[in-house]
Symmetry: C2
Subunit: 333 residues, 2 copies
């Protein structure tokens, strides 16, 4: 790794490859959507646009920009049309937006998105509490959106929440996740994102759910993982997913966004922490970690809140140390 004391550079991990892991991973960046939607303050449209452009400049090629859920529910993203109209990203970037229903789909298709994401729950209680509906009804709604998107030639992604545990129901049978996953694939989604919404999973649990889904004939290449860090398990679960062949992971620049089910607890996996590990494993992401970290620092300043990414904090401290060129360290051990 690059020595910290070299003022011109900041640390990167040494590269040690592991056999049987993917050569490349798609980092699916949800900061502008999942991150900002969970933040208490509403970020100005100009800042969102700058954020999206900077993420792409840092190498992000899978970007979830916004959501066409009703502004009544998610006021933070009420400017979805404006963001999409003005952001002007290259066609080569996968530009995903959420659409919950036919009206949302209509807005999404007119916005120029290159991919539409739908969302369903693996558990009845979450479907009820969060979506005001049942699993079956939310699947039916998703089917409408997927059919409409497919007709328009726009691919879709199917999010499944509560795949590893539910705050009300407790344990979630992996078979239930597989049932929902199978329905989504049958209706035509291009890929799935299986979510550990409350962050309770551990490595073999990740494998058990993946096995149940793959057993339905769904290729692991079509599966992404959306892992929350509420219990500090997210990155370990990513590694478990990697060892099972998963090559797409959702994360949020700077760790933006909080889990609404555990007040005060951390939520999204920070993209920088994910990329540090992938860089160290020699897995291609296309992302410049230091450039990405700078984007997160900038956004945290815009939002007047601290950054929750360990890597961003460490790189910022290392840069400050290198600039100071002061290495007075107290003895340890």
């Amino acid at each position: 790794m690059t020595p910290v004391q070299d003022a011109a550079r900041v640390p990167s991990p040494d590269v040690y490859r592991a056999a049987a892991l993917p050569d490349a991973v798609r980092v699916y960046e949800v900061g502008p959507r999942d991150g900002l939607q969970a933040e208490p303050h509403i970020v100005p449209t100009e800042t969102k646009i700058e954020f999206c452009r900077s993420l792409v400049a840092a190498g992000v090629t899978n970007l979830e920009l916004t959501s066409f859920v009703s502004p009544r529910w998610v006021p933070q993203l009420a400017d979805a049309e404006d963001v999409m109209t003005q952001v002007n990203l290259p066609e080569s970037v996968r530009r995903i937006v959420l659409a919950p229903n036919a009206r949302g789909l209509d807005r999404a298709l007119r916005s120029g998105a290159s991919e539409i994401a739908v969302f369903v729950s693996a558990t009845e209680t979450f479907a009820q509490k969060n979506l005001g509906t049942s699993v079956a009804a939310s699947l039916a709604m998703a089917e409408t959106v997927v059919a409409g998107s497919t007709s328009a030639g726009v691919p879709t992604r199917g999010y499944v929440s509560m795949c590893f545990g539910d705050p009300w129901e407790g344990s979630v049978d992996p078979v239930r996740v597989a049932d929902v996953a199978e329905r989504l694939i049958q209706m035509g989604v291009g890929s799935l994102s299986l979510g550990d919404t409350i962050g309770v999973a551990t490595p073999a649990h990740i494998h058990a759910v993946l096995d149940a889904v793959v057993e339905r004939g769904i290729a692991v290449e079509r599966i992404a993982l959306h892992l929350h860090d509420t219990y500090g398990q997210a990155l370990t679960n990513v590694y478990a997913g990697l060892t099972a062949g998963v090559a797409e992971f959702d994360s949020s620049a700077g760790g933006l966004g909080r889990c609404p089910y555990a007040r005060g607890a951390t939520g999204n996996l920070a993209t920088e922490d994910l990329v540090w590990m992938l860089d160290g494993l020699g897995i291609e992401t296309g992302i410049d970690l230091h450039a990405l970290s700078d984007v997160s620092v900038w956004l945290a300043e815009q939002m007047g809140r601290p950054n929750t990414s360990a890597v961003v904090r460490a790189l910022s401290a290392a840069r400050a140390d290198a600039i100071q060129n002061n290495s007075t360290l107290s003895p340890t051990h």
Copy 2:
């Protein structure tokens, strides 16, 4: 997992076992020593004693209580003799203390410790900056301590710092770590703790260093890992160690202690976050996670500082939610 909404109980992970992992792990608790020594405030002796006793009551059986380094260097642990005299822990608990030299060893042996830890550096620059000496000289000093401890019938543990990266030297050759490890084993230490002092390692790097050490004829059963979370990698690296057969991991209750080499960055792996994963993997630790979390909450209150463990924060929030019995959740996705 236990539903959050059950007010009488708080969450635990579902158990999913993985093949080829250890059945049991020794959680080596360094909070009272490594944690407290890095804290800016000096904790009263009575609080330290209560902390140690509470940790043992929660099931900790490998406890590093204090250090007999000169109080000039580590004023936070100047009360080492008092803590050891008054703490009164069962003989069944492995009670480890640090001793840097012959004088420290003398104090340590008289204190009633059941194990003595010595510490050396894998890199010259860290030995110089932190210990004011060379690798060779620190090995010679360690040999004196180990010989004295062994004569007294007290086993020893050899800590090696900077095994995965050094702030000044950058990359560290795994061969160098193996050289130091081999010397320690030859001089008679019972076990080794290989440290990622600056937290830069990733899973295959963990394997590379373990392979280099094991190649010297050192059984993996004699190897522990001391992983820092400065870059958010600690728990993932624990899992990597588990898959390579490591069965002892150092951690700090509530994530006490900070890495002094990256100001503002997180340091020790939180014991609760480690135990959540081990519980989820069905690996025995002997530790009651919820009791341990309560100890960390109590200590954080004593110290007037926030807790850095994701699990502790999540369990505290879940308990508050359960008590409120209020589940108004804003829609997501």
